[in-house]
């Protein structure tokens, strides 16, 4: 009698742990399965949440089912049907759905992986970029709304509203939970890859925040897509680009806390397994003869790690081809920086200065202009540009790096020598 209560609570804790794990790691997969019939993300989420609540009660009493995932899916389907029956008089529709679901329940042990359609809906180009990122993290990666809000420095309520609006738009605007047909595939894939790339760069710049590392979430997503849709050159290119960039992550901040450009990084700290995997993937992608911006960006990341020094002429050429795919001011800026490193500093500075209208509010423009002013021997102008770049950065490591550049460009540094 005295041991019964502690035993019950011990099993409840174990159940809660299993449930928490399943709801984190398999949430996307379960939602995607539910969506195959329900076609409504809010309904699928609510039904899954209800199923999780039932699971907590049921599993604590009768023990864990053989497949927690299949159990949750079956119960969530019933909960969804109950909700539909309560909310609508469209009996035929509910009848059709229950029929479809009964068909699916027969093989509930082998839940088919339908996540591709979930990802494509969450990353639809008709949604605002920030909503795409948030929705993908929430629905596919199982990151909680609180965690996403923290990553964006938003209030939880604000982020919750953003997610609701995005889901409402998917339902109302006619965005389907389907893998797009071939005529829409290139445009839709590009939207998916840019969303994942943004998740990656946000994580790369911020570093690991709390327990969720956005670089890892992005890598997880791109690996998932690559597995579900193999032999797609741009998907392989995007994965290669992330691996080749992430490989340098441990080396990008020096001992003094300042960020380091690839040329000055300790190559011993690079993740050589990731580099090898990234290079192999890039090779494989290029052999498909379907060039695209992500393959080019991967090639640029690769050339930056050439031994013993970056291959700047090659990088400058790659940026020229990237410009044909993405003729944006930011790519023009990066192309100019590469051209300067390849020996065309004066011309590069002219290009950079011509972008002032578009990029004056973009911190890297000031940092790049400062470096080009140093290269063309205009040190006092360079110091002003460095000061501006320092004022505009919010990252301590970047500010420290720029401080060092500023000191070496300033006339006092010359005298001290």
């Amino acid at each position: 009698m005295t041991t019964a209560a502690p035993q019950a609570s011990a099993s409840a804790i174990a159940v809660a742990k299993v449930l928490d794990h399943v709801m984190r790691s398999d949430r996307g997969r379960l939602l995607a399965s539910l969506l195959a019939v329900l076609r409504n993300l809010s309904l699928a989420e609510e039904a899954l949440q209800e199923a999780a609540v039932s699971a907590m009660n049921h599993w604590s009493r009768s023990g864990l089912p053989q497949s927690p995932q299949a159990w949750l899916l079956t119960v969530a389907r019933r909960k969804a049907l109950d909700r539909l029956r309560g909310a609508t008089r469209e009996n035929k529709k509910v009848h059709d759905m229950s029929y479809l679901m009964a068909q699916e329940e027969e093989d509930a042990d082998e839940i088919p992986d339908e996540r591709l359609r979930l990802i494509f809906a969450c990353c639809h180009p008709a949604l605002e970029m920030k909503s795409r990122v948030a929705l993908t993290l929430r629905a596919v990666c199982g990151v909680t709304t609180v965690e996403i809000a923290r990553l964006f420095l938003d209030q939880e309520a604000t982020m919750g509203q953003r997610l609701s609006r995005a889901k409402a738009k998917i339902a109302a605007a006619g965005i389907r939970f389907e893998v797009p047909a071939s005529e829409y595939w290139p445009m839709r894939l590009e939207a998916v890859l840019t969303t994942i790339y943004l998740i990656f760069t946000t994580g790369y710049v911020a570093g690991p925040v709390e327990e969720r590392d956005l670089c890892q979430e992005a890598e997880y997503l791109i690996r998932l897509i690559n597995r579900l849709r193999p032999e797609e050159a741009e998907i392989e290119g995007a994965l290669a680009m992330m691996l080749l960039t992430a490989a340098r992550r441990a080396a990008r901040i020096g001992q003094d806390g300042a960020s380091l450009p690839p040329t000055e990084q300790d190559r011993g700290l690079w993740d050589h397994a990731r580099i090898a995997e990234g290079r192999a993937l890039l090779q494989q992608a290029m052999q498909r003869h379907k060039p695209g911006p992500f393959q080019i960006k991967a090639a640029i990341a690769d050339c930056q790690m050439a031994d013993p020094a970056p291959d700047w002429p090659q990088i400058a050429l790659l940026y020229q081809s990237l410009l044909r795919h993405e003729p944006t001011p930011i790519v023009m800026l990066n192309a100019a920086v590469a051209a300067a490193e390849a020996g065309h500093a004066a011309e590069a500075l002219r290009v950079v200065e011509s972008l002032v209208g578009e990029l004056a509010g973009y911190q890297p423009w000031h940092a790049a202009r400062a470096a080009l002013l140093v290269m063309t021997d205009q040190k006092s102008e360079a110091c002003l540009a460095y000061k501006q770049a320092i004022d505009m950065t919010s990252h301590a490591a970047e500010a420290l790096f720029l401080q060092k550049q500023l000191i070496s460009a300033s006339p006092f540094a010359v005298r001290r020598r």
């Binding site: 008089r89 008709a126 389907r176």
Partner: protein, 119 residues
């Protein structure tokens, strides 16, 4: 699903009447129409006369106020619309991209309200 494609144009950016560019634009509109008809998706559409012909009206405290000119003081104005019936947003966007105005203006794609959900 039915969608309205609302065509917003800045009249100063539109090709001028009588120029080869104007001819090209008309030919592209014609081709888009033919495509929508051939695919069986076209439900309707009209072009609007210029904003200099527009009159706006609102009722304030029970009193009708009329004003010369369009509703919004923006550079791009509603110039016409299509209504199409297609499978999903992707398909609606595909037809929107056929309209030549997308090159110098904006096409807003909006689903129509469904008054009879039971269908």
């Amino acid at each position: 699903m039915q969608y309205m494609l609302l065509i917003y144009n800045d009249p100063s950016k539109e090709p001028a009447y009588g120029t080869p560019d104007f001819q090209k634009m008309m030919a592209e509109f014609f081709a888009a129409n033919e495509q929508m008809k051939a695919d069986g998706v076209l439900r309707g559409g009209e072009g609007l006369k210029g904003i200099e012909t527009a009159t706006s009206l609102r009722i304030k405290s029970g009193k009708v106020e009329t004003m010369d000119g369009p509703f919004a003081e923006t550079r791009e104005h509603l110039g016409g619309y299509y209504v199409i019936d297609v499978k999903d947003l992707d398909a609606a966007l595909k037809y929107a991209a056929l309209l030549p105005s997308a090159h110098f203006g904006t096409i807003e794609v909006r689903p129509l309200m469904d008054y009879n959900p039971a269908g």
